[in-house]
């Protein structure tokens, strides 16, 4: 087993870090970007495209870079480190990933090519009110309409649902969950966007006999594909969370050294330094698990189980680090002017986007009898 990045991966990290530092190195810049629509910076998005980041995991024939999950993880971590609001995981890993898995040649060229060039932002419209983190659609239905299909129902919350140029939509038909492509300007499509607590955007997306194109050629049930794409995104979100947790911890450590009370820096109080030490422990254990899960994705192993394991570890660590970061800052931690609370907000969102720790735990609990011991090298 090997956990080090090669020179090329380190180069990618440096490049992305440089770009994002310029954009969000000062947390005021992020505040002003997330205060205006579409909630991220179109210029930064274009620069990420120029750098090849938005086509990273896709085949070169589809306009991508032909890189793998390790490179994706490097980018996601940098996104998390400065809380860049650009929807990298949502567009590239999740929506793009589904198109890469299933799309026809023409669909891949259009969607992935456009995404890689930075001219087309896709999103995955999947969540429905009353369900949680399942790979199936229940209330949005698809109906055959001549050669094509129409969709009816509501998806909510859809990440960047108002801004997205194309939606990958899950819908139920003939008892199966299938995937469709719907352009943002399709007839019978109503999108109502709003701002989330972490500065990102979501939307309510309503379909009323909206024309849709089947993603891919055949009409099989797509539950397994969705589950796997979600698992890959869970792992990528794990890296985003690692970046965020690391910044939250270093910010907190710096603050403990700088802030004086009772005539001494806070770092003189062992009750506080020990809590910082425990934050570090949680971060490193989460890092190990998420890195491992990325390697499982890379090797195309049991991706779903590995993602659950990473999810559980990151969920516990993210909550712990996020809450402690605020507490150790005291009052300033809960202000909007100061960055640390925003990290906690984002970590909380990441925790709930594709399944939280308790959810992962209950899935893992169902399988404890299937193995005597857990062997990461198996």
């Amino acid at each position: 087993m090997e956990f080090s990045y090669d020179d090329e991966q380190n180069g990618l990290r440096e490049a992305v870090r440089g770009l994002l530092e310029r954009a969000y190195g000062d947390s005021e810049q992020r505040r002003s970007v997330v205060a205006t629509e579409p909630g991220f910076d179109e210029k930064t998005w274009s620069r990420l495209a120029e750098m090849g980041v938005l086509g990273l995991p896709f085949a070169e024939a589809d306009g991508g870079m032909g890189a793998g999950p390790v490179e994706v993880s490097v980018v996601a971590e940098e996104i998390g480190r400065v809380l860049a609001p650009e929807p990298f995981v949502e567009a590239v890993v999740l929506a793009g990933g589904l198109v890469a898995d299933l799309g026809t040649d023409a669909q891949r060229t259009e969607v992935l090519g456009g995404l890689a060039e930075g001219v087309l932002v896709p999103t995955f419209a999947h969540a429905e009110i009353g369900t949680r983190w399942e790979p199936v659609a229940r209330s949005v239905t698809a109906t055959r309409d001549g050669d094509g299909w129409t969709l009816t129902g509501v998806k909510e919350p859809v990440p960047n649902g108002a801004r997205a140029d194309v939606l990958v939509v899950s819908a139920v038909t003939e008892g199966a969950t299938r995937l469709f492509l719907v352009p943002g300007d399709a007839a019978g499509l109503t999108r109502t966007g709003h701002r989330n607590h972490d500065g990102t955007r979501s939307a309510r997306v309503e379909f009323a006999d909206t024309p849709a194109q089947l993603l891919g050629e055949d009409t099989g049930d797509r539950t397994a594909t969705i589950e796997k794409a979600q698992a890959r995104a869970r792992v990528a979100y794990g890296h985003e969370a690692l970046g965020a947790m690391e910044t939250a911890l270093t910010t907190t450590a710096e603050y403990l050294k700088a802030r004086k009370q009772f005539g001494v820096p806070l770092s003189r109080f062992q009750a506080l330094t020990f809590r910082a030490a425990d934050m570090y422990v949680a971060l490193e254990l989460a890092r190990s698990t998420v890195m491992w899960a990325t390697l499982v994705v890379d090797a195309d192993g049991d991706v779903v189980a590995a993602a659950d394991r990473a999810r559980l570890q990151v969920s516990r660590a993210g909550r712990h680090i996020g809450k402690e970061a605020i507490q150790l800052h005291g009052g300033i931690g809960v202000t909007a002017e100061y960055s640390v609370g925003h990290y906690t907000s984002r970590l909380t969102a990441l925790d709930h986007l594709l399944g939280d720790g308790d959810w992962a735990l209950s899935r893992l609990a169902a399988s404890v009898d299937a193995h005597p011991t857990v062997d990461p090298l198996a």
């Binding site: 450590a253 390697l295 857990v374």
Partner: protein, 391 residues
């Protein structure tokens, strides 16, 4: 980045797995698995089997029996031993004093002690802690005063693990009470436990066992050539030794074995008509512990993979802290699985209470020690906060 072991490391692991499960007597491995106290003879026999195969001191210099393995191979070696229930080579010998003598000892000391230490022909014990010198080890007060060719030692040590089995003790003593920093006036002496003036008093622990002792020194004469390295430099050797003590202290293989055991037992117990193993809360607790242990194992692998250039990985301090917590959590789980049977810990012969349930609570109580010794968890947090976070 790479997921799997290289083919060479995988073959290495298989080879060790086979050796440990076939060449070390089953009765000894059963005793470890059952958390039974091992006899001195069992420890010695197991270590001699390993030593004969070149597996007792692989981390020593090659000249003295080392194998020049990578940190990853050493990790695999240790984990496979624990998984197989093989008693690890006595840490006092192989992780602590052996490497110190090999690094700082005189040629004569090396020749005299290293082969016997590797083969457990000499059983060493560690005389560091004192009643008033625990976490603050440098405040120790046992003195050694030079008298001709000898040192004369007076004072008291405590918590001396398995001192009752020991042939020799390696002992920190104060040789310069006037030194400006208390760390500076300390030296490391070696002497036989049967030297006149040494007395040992066993301390009974919570589980009823006697694994630690108080040791008293009254005018104990130790020849000068049994001083290790330089006079007044003992603190440096102690730090070197304690650094080694923390390696492998995460004991992941052993915790894995305990979790597997807990699952197995939970299948045999019925609660309201269904196996305890199906209780959702218990399953969740096991799944969470398995995941924590996975995270720790992966961290250990990261640490060994990245310490190849000699520098320890900063995350290594996580291993002792979290490793001890998970060992303790696993023993607690076994108590809870045993449930009402866990109360009958010293059941009489002929009892139907299974052995694992009888030992569950005593070993839970005994394992309270793992977050105290080898640098308490508070000391580990101090290290993380200070040297990693700069606080």
């Amino acid at each position: 980045m790479r997921l799997h072991l290289s083919p060479e490391d995988a073959a290495f692991r298989d080879q060790l797995r086979t050796f440990f499960t076939t060449s070390v007597p089953q009765s000894i491995r059963d005793a470890v698995a059952a958390h039974r106290e091992l006899t001195r003879e069992q420890f010695v026999e197991a270590q001699q089997v390993l030593n004969a195969a070149g597996l007792a001191v692989p981390h020593w210099p090659v000249e003295w029996g080392g194998r020049d393995w990578t940190p990853l191979q050493r990790h695999i070696w240790r984990e496979e031993m624990q998984l197989a229930g093989v008693p690890e080579p006595l840490a006092f010998n192989t992780s602590m004093i052996g490497p110190v003598i090999a690094t700082f000892g005189s040629q004569e000391q090396k020749e005299r002690f290293l082969p016997a230490t590797a083969n457990l022909d000499i059983w060493w014990c560690q005389g560091f802690s004192e009643p008033d010198a625990g976490s603050d080890l440098a405040s120790l007060r046992t003195t050694a005063v030079r008298d001709g060719d000898d040192w004369v030692v007076n004072g008291q040590k405590t918590w001396t693990t398995l001192g009752q089995h020991a042939d020799w003790i390696f002992c920190l003593v104060r040789t310069d009470p006037t030194a400006e920093k208390k760390q500076r006036g300390i030296s490391l002496l070696l002497f036989p436990m049967d030297t006149p003036g040494v007395t040992l008093r066993p301390i009974e622990l919570l589980d009823g066992g006697f694994e630690v002792n108080e040791v008293f020194f009254s005018d104990v004469r130790v020849p000068h050539e049994l001083l290790v390295g330089e006079e007044n430099r003992g603190w440096d050797y102690a730090k070197f030794l304690l650094g080694n003590e923390r390696v492998g202290i995460a004991r992941i293989g052993s915790t894995k074995r305990m979790l597997a055991e807990a699952k197995e037992h939970a299948r045999q117990i019925t609660v309201a008509g269904a196996p305890l193993a199906e209780d959702p809360y218990l399953r969740a607790r096991i799944a969470e512990l398995e995941n924590e242990l996975l995270a720790l194992e992966l961290t250990a692998l990261r640490v060994v993979a990245n310490s190849a250039d000699g520098k320890p990985h900063p995350a290594s301090s996580v291993l002792k802290l979290r490793g001890s917590e998970l060992q303790q959590a696993a023993t607690e789980l076994l108590v809870d699985v045993a449930g009402p049977l866990s109360v009958a810990s010293f059941a009489a012969d002929g009892s139907d209470v299974p052995e694992w349930a009888q030992v569950a609570t005593p070993s839970y109580l005994n394992y309270r020690k793992v977050s105290i010794y080898g640098g308490s968890n508070e000391v580990q947090r101090t290290i993380i906060a200070g040297s990693i976070l700069g606080l």
